[in-house]
Symmetry: C2
Subunit: 390 residues, 2 copies
Amino acid sequence: MHVLKLLRDNGPLSQVELGDRLALPRARLLPELEDLRASGLVQDGGRAPSRGGRPSTLIGLAPDIRYGAVHVGATSLDIEITDGYLEPVARISDEVDVKAGPSVVLSQIGLLFGKLRSGQSFDRLSAMGVGVPGPVSVGEGIPVSPPNMPGWDRFPLRATLGMEYGCPTTVDTDVNVMCAGEGHRGIARDVKDFLFVKVGTGVGCGIRLDGRTYRGVKGCAGDIGHIQVSSRGPECACGKTGCLEAAFSGAALARDAEAAAESGASPFLAARLAASGTVTAKDVGRGAIQRDPVCLRLVREGGARLGEVLATIVSFINPAMIVVGGGLAGLGNQLLAEIRVVIYQRSLPLATGDLPIVLSELGPRAGVTGAALLASEQLSWQFPPVSQPR
Amino acid sequence: MHVLKLLRDNGPLSQVELGDRLALPRARLLPELEDLRASGLVQDGGRAPSRGGRPSTLIGLAPDIRYGAVHVGATSLDIEITDGYLEPVARISDEVDVKAGPSVVLSQIGLLFGKLRSGQSFDRLSAMGVGVPGPVSVGEGIPVSPPNMPGWDRFPLRATLGMEYGCPTTVDTDVNVMCAGEGHRGIARDVKDFLFVKVGTGVGCGIRLDGRTYRGVKGCAGDIGHIQVSSRGPECACGKTGCLEAAFSGAALARDAEAAAESGASPFLAARLAASGTVTAKDVGRGAIQRDPVCLRLVREGGARLGEVLATIVSFINPAMIVVGGGLAGLGNQLLAEIRVVIYQRSLPLATGDLPIVLSELGPRAGVTGAALLASEQLSWQFPPVSQPR
């Protein structure tokens, strides 16, 4: 266990307690703490309450540690600045069109960071974590052939941001980042093996096995959006037909909602279209709540498609929990009910017996929470765990 | 790394080489070796060739180590006795009906072990590994609600065999055992993340992630036989309809072959039925080789069903290799071709780019090879790895 992680997750600890939790004798702990103090990451915070013996020094994370957490969605950009304990200090959001390419999006990120800096939420960043809506080679810190991010293929995102902000930077796929966030501070915080299913503009799945993100051999594990759910079905952005994402996703719902509004099949959606000039996936959710038959059908059919894919995956990987998040998680219980029915019907009873299928607890903050976590882990990497004496 | 594993996988090593490979100084290695000698597991084998300095003692595994490897299939029973290097010393096979229940099968196992013992291939067993065709709680060493093994639910298999043969015993699902064998000595021996798909009387999948068997939270990961592949489809032994296993497996093929033989739709199968009074899944394979249209169609359609399930799984878990084994792997290239087409067509190009989909190298020996490996690992567990000095 790292000193830095222990402090991050527990708050300030007395020197004695740190030694106990790390099972380290004083003689090995002290030089480690000295290194961390010298690098400005930890500092003494007075005397800890005595446990009977000599009063012990209280060790905490330096109050000026600042992590930059960036979550780039297909259409939204969220940035959060946190302290060393991952507590948010400031946050800012904006709309974004990730298809506009890296230079537009990066200058937008720069603008938001500029606002945060002038608002004095940070002076310099200790580390940065970034999630983007496409496959990433985490080792290189670059997007790799991201289908929904034209212009981003192999763009040196980590290098560019790391240079710009002068701090270690990690880049990962948005869904992995959200999954890590939910596993650290969300509903899956005590769960080691779970899936985080993101239903947003696209559909993806974060895989957490034994407490770690599982990426597969090429880094594309969890890319369930292009699993074929019907042999005909609508054409997908990827060029194939019948992909899950083409049948059910934010983009697919918006397309179907527009058609239902224009044809008049859904009075609710037609009214929305007339009122605002456009209908979105979120309107389908609102329509379902108001029991508009077309909206209800779209959510049900979509949930069933997603449920079928997840049923196969549940039988295969036998997870402890499924967390549903992303923009369309707003469809809420209606969607969840449909997914549950299909999974419970189709998967092995042994695999579904105690399987909670739940909504994300962090909601729209899952991404930035995971990104801040990613940022913090980089500091830990620089200070490898103190080895225990044998 | 364990001394025992190092010797098992490399053969006898000089004391110097052992110390080098374990990065252990002499002073720490010697007491460890002394313990292993005292327990009769390793012994000195004379002088190793000098590497310039003092000649070093050659350390080998005791020649009387014997592992009992038991593979219980739905209809077959294979037992192999190996030495400490997992080299087979003797083997014996028999037909079995696992549905006859534990007492019948155990007495059959006893009979075969009796023959092996009287043939002097072993005097006493050092450890035993057992694979059975159903879900197993590995920790307890018992089958758990195995759908194809009536009478076996929660039968204390490990305890019974361990008591009978006076040796540590591990029990696991057959497909996990075969998967471990293929990963250790078969075609996947250098591959850390792969799937072993068993197509036999039933269908199952072993999951190897990062060099270890992944079991899921309830131990039923990889149980892909009851994934629904069609909403109608034939009824399955599990009570549901449309399961993969009901559409394609040894049992399903035999059922379809019989129908095609009786209706005369397949002259080839009708001739087999007339000649031998029965037709089996293997006859379908033989018919496909002779290009009997019905047999070809059955293999193609079955391969496509299996391929569809695997395509979803490949997109989800992004493995480095898929190994196809089990009794129906004898359908061979015809089956493989069909599986490949569907997976390559349906899964993400990134996930299928370098994905070998190959037949098991160990074939019918995958099970006993894995079972012997399981047996050997128990000895290693008793002697925890020597810790490295820091």
